[in-house]
Symmetry: C2
Subunit: 118 residues, 2 copies
DNA sequence: TCGATGCATCGACAATAATCGATGCATCGA
DNA sequence: TCGATGCATCGATTATTGTCGATGCATCGA
């Protein structure tokens, strides 16, 4: 296991993220949040995320992803790095393959920041 | 009322947005989603959103926003345009002032696309 | 041990995006 | 009617990001 997620959403998913609209965010909080949203701000990365989530076993390697998104291997690798750094996916190297997996807690936490009703 | 929101999330907020991870998104859906996330992918825009939500009456004009974010008026105007086009805020011109307001339905819909449990 | 495979990194280039000053259009108050 | 104010748009510049070919490092199977 060589997962290298950098949880930009905070160490503790459950406690880090109050709704965006609950009060004025300071610069740091805004930047951290924006960085995660930026990771989702590309159609290919959004697509990659849905491909991984829908993949058999909930995980996929780069080789499974290049064809569906129609990008080169280095480019897909680059996008996956951004998603990993955002904490939205984890990377697990097993032999030759690097398996990526969606982090539900991160998705939930991010979802929570957009919730307006309590 | 001169609101000009372009609801990129779809005409019907409630019905448009199944979770990102519920199945493989087609190109169009991925692009539409990514465009909205991209609108949130800037710390100033995230901040602007929280400022508006926290403002008195839930609305704010450009002139209320320039100082807090420390950007020029044209730049703030530009950011607000992006947020408006993403459907995350509405614009309402009243006299000299343009009042911006968060669209809770859009936030909720977007929040829903990130939800992994149902 | 060696060729093949999967992947990340690097370097370069092209495309997007952020920012601001200048400007023009309304609207308001005097 | 006129100056002042609020805002959007334009044009230019800089910064950021997406993309790919080339390359190098592991790992696997023969």
């Amino acid at each position: 296991m060589t997962g290298t997620a950098l949880p930009l959403l905070g160490e503790d998913f459950a406690a880090c993220c109050s709704p965006l609209t609950a009060g004025v965010l300071d610069e740091d909080a805004a930047e951290r949040l924006a960085r995660v949203f930026r990771a989702l701000g590309d159609r290919h990365r959004v697509r990659l995320l849905s491909l991984i989530a829908a993949a058999d076993g909930g995980e996929a390697c780069i080789c499974d992803l290049t064809a569906p998104v129609g990008l080169s291997q280095p480019t897909v690798s680059h996008h996956m790095k951004l998603l990993t750094e955002a904490g939205l996916v984890t990377r697990d190297q097993r032999g030759k393959w690097a398996y990526y997996r969606v982090v539900p807690e991160a998705m939930e936490a991010l979802s929570g920041t957009l919730r307006t009703t309590r």
